[in-house]
Amino acid sequence: MMDALGHPQSVFLAGGTSEIGLAIVRELMSTRIERLVLAGRNHTEMTLTAASFAHNNRKLDVLDLDISHTELHEICLDQAFGGGDIDVAIMAIGVLGNQAEDELDVKKAMKVIRVNSSDSIELTMRIFERMAKQGHGTLVVLSSIAAVRPRRANFIYGAGKAGLDAFTQGLIELGNEVGVKVILVRPGFVRTKMTAGMEDAPFSVYPHEVAADTVDAIRKNKSIIYSPAQVGAVAVALRNLPRPLLRKLPR
């Protein structure tokens, strides 16, 4: 169970190799955590990562999960939730794609959109259902600033995240009715291996900074956050900026 000061006893990470996801796990780590579940595609890497969290009798589970194989989602969740209540679930799966290539190839573009949008929404909804059933839980969903204002340079990724973002906004309200706290996190440009080689955008952050902001949201009962907080103001400004001006801005 989550305690009154926002310290969980069990954590489930969907996207078990996600740098931001793992940073959030690290930020949540305490002697109170009795069970950690990592789910993703790279079993070996996750097994090594899980081992780094070993402590006393802490239970470490590694599960296979491929977001695109939606028919297998339930098998993963049966194991995750079958081993006991999950206090915090982090939905940290997404692909950036390659805008320049993807915009010339419908199939590639749709793959990026499907993973970030419908497949992610499907898994998010399934996790939410489990939490609603157990009557409690905190569900963290990683969106992006790109979901709020798509740009020329990333609109395919942005369109996908926008679907997940809109869905999650509604889920926050639904969660209030069923005792599930949903937290929507919209990072700005995060320096990770996913963005390696790309030029830094203004207000770039490291995963551990997004993690600190996310855990702060859990503990202070916030439901939608930007990380860093300044990109929230940028988002509002961008949303209201006339398109000809937006085009002229650097990335």
């Binding site: 059933k133 157990q134 009557g135 005792g179 599930v180 503990r219």
Partner: protein, 459 residues
């Protein structure tokens, strides 16, 4: 809009929290009006179990049960009978202390133990084995229960008493609802001459003075407690105001009070705004409040006649005051340490003050002897209770540190207030938990009575 809840469990669910408004969870809430309600629900209980809930004044997660069933006992509140010779009243467990006082004070009887609010049920009072300002002479609530009828996990209702079934009786006192559902209880009321209290007030400039004056006042008065200004530092650390009292005799009343000495009309509470900004209670506003409160108190005053409600239940004057802490809620931290470790009280005040954990409700009291209940909170020594908003930076670490200090000193944390302690400290703080576990396992082998707190603490 309860569509999803109904769909999830096929039953109506509600989101519940404790009085601190932290850690919400959803459960199927069944209002209990007769025993048939309970029996039929018990028959189709899920693995998430059931817990009885009264007026929701436990601060933490002890009266909620995520994904399971919660019995709302507040409508099961009839007075069955009263023996005006012995003062023993037979009530349904959902009756509140407020209803008992409203009914019996005009007849010259008072509840044997009252906490700082009248809004607690008799069932909750027994399950948490609550205490009041008279603990040093009267003990806790369980001491005044002659017998009670408890619904067991097997669906049978059994009468428990300290003489016939001591193990089960005392496991239920302080058992936080995990041994069964308390349905009815026979409580011994206390005879009083008036509805007024003769009060002595003493202002103390530091913690040592506050403690020693309290010990002196306990000799003369059955009711005694101190309010502490937790934000004062240095040689004024632990300054506060002690109020001690006893029920006034007829000869001490004059005017209107003398003509109708037992008249009792609680003032209609004013409502606190339900959407308070989170920062309303911060270290500056609380410091200002504390300063004013301390200055307002006389250095020493005797023979002041106060109404029962003013003396015992000052917070009942503001309905929904818990909302003042804003959306993130608050925790109440209450511990007791043996008298020989009273320095833990000073350390606690220092550590909390250092992180700016403003508490405008800090209460210090010396307990008398405990009772035979293995999980009862009170034990001889000093108990400190503080309200702290959850948003204070560094709070979790300081409270963990204090838990450890309290446990090392042979003290304990109060489960009716707890919302965050770690499971591994429970056996240190409650060394008789093994006894309690054995009795509970016999009464409820499958642990069908369950709460979020029980889950968090692996009980």
């Amino acid at each position: 809009m309860t569509g999803i809840n109904d769909a999830i469990s096929g039953k109506h669910r509600e989101v519940l929290t404790g009085w601190g408004r932290t850690s919400p969870s959803a459960a199927h809430v069944v209002p209990v009006t007769d025993e048939q309600d309970i029996a039929s629900e018990l028959a189709e209980l899920t693995e998430r179990g059931v817990i009885a809930r009264g007026l929701g004044r436990s601060y933490g997660d002890s009266a909620q049960n995520a994904g399971g069933l919660v019995f709302d006992m507040t409508h099961y509140n009839a007075i069955n009978s009263f023996d005006s010779v012995t003062g023993v009243v037979d009530v349904q467990a959902g009756i509140s202390i407020d209803e008992l006082i409203t009914h019996f004070l005009p007849l010259g009887w008072f509840v044997p133990v009252t906490p700082g609010t009248r809004s607690v049920t008799v069932g909750g009072a027994i399950a948490a084995d609550i205490h009041g300002k008279n603990h040093h002479v009267a003990g806790s609530f369980g001491n005044h229960v002659r017998s009670m009828d408890v619904l067991f996990a097997d669906g049978q209702v059994r009468t428990l008493s300290p003489t016939q079934t001591p193990d089960q009786f005392w496991a239920t006192v302080g058992g936080m609802g995990l041994t069964g559902v308390i349905l009815r209880a026979r409580i011994a009321l206390t005879a009083v001459e008036s509805a007024h209290i003769n009060v002595e007030t003493v202002r103390a400039n530091n913690l040592d003075e506050l403690m020693s004056r309290q010990v002196e006042l306990e000799e003369t008065y059955p009711y005694c407690v101190a309010w502490i200004d937790c934000l004062s530092k240095g040689d004024r650390l632990g300054r506060g105001v002690i109020t001690a009292g006893r029920f006034a005799q007829l000869s001490e009343l004059d005017g209107k009070r003398a003509s109708d000495p037992l008249a009792y009309e609680p003032a209609k509470p004013i409502a606190a705004p339900s959407f308070a900004p989170s920062g309303l209670l911060n270290r500056w506003s609380v410091a200002a409040f504390n300063e004013a409160w301390f200055r307002k108190a006389p250095k020493h005053r005797i023979d002041e006649i106060q109404s029962m409600a003013t003396f015992f239940h000052p917070l009942d004057g503001v309905a929904g005051w818990n909302a003042l802490y804003g959306r993130a809620g608050f925790v109440q931290y209450q511990f007791v340490v043996p008298e020989s470790s009273s320095e833990v009280v000073r350390v606690a005040i220092e550590k909390l003050s250092a992180i700016g954990a403003a508490s405008f409700l800090a209460v210090l009291k010396r307990f008398g002897a405990g009772n035979p209940a293995p999980m009862s909170f009170p034990m001889p020594g000093w108990t400190l209770a503080l309200d702290i908003p959850t948003g204070v930076d560094g709070l979790a670490a300081v409270l963990d540190e204090l838990d450890q200090l309290v446990a090392n000193a042979g003290g304990r944390v109060y489960l009716a207030k707890d919302a965050r302690m770690q499971p591994h400290l429970l056996p240190t703080m409650y060394p008789r938990i093994g006894e309690w576990n054995a009795t509970r396992d016999a009464m409820d082998p499958q642990h069908r009575f369950a709460s979020d707190q029980a889950r968090r603490l692996h009980r």
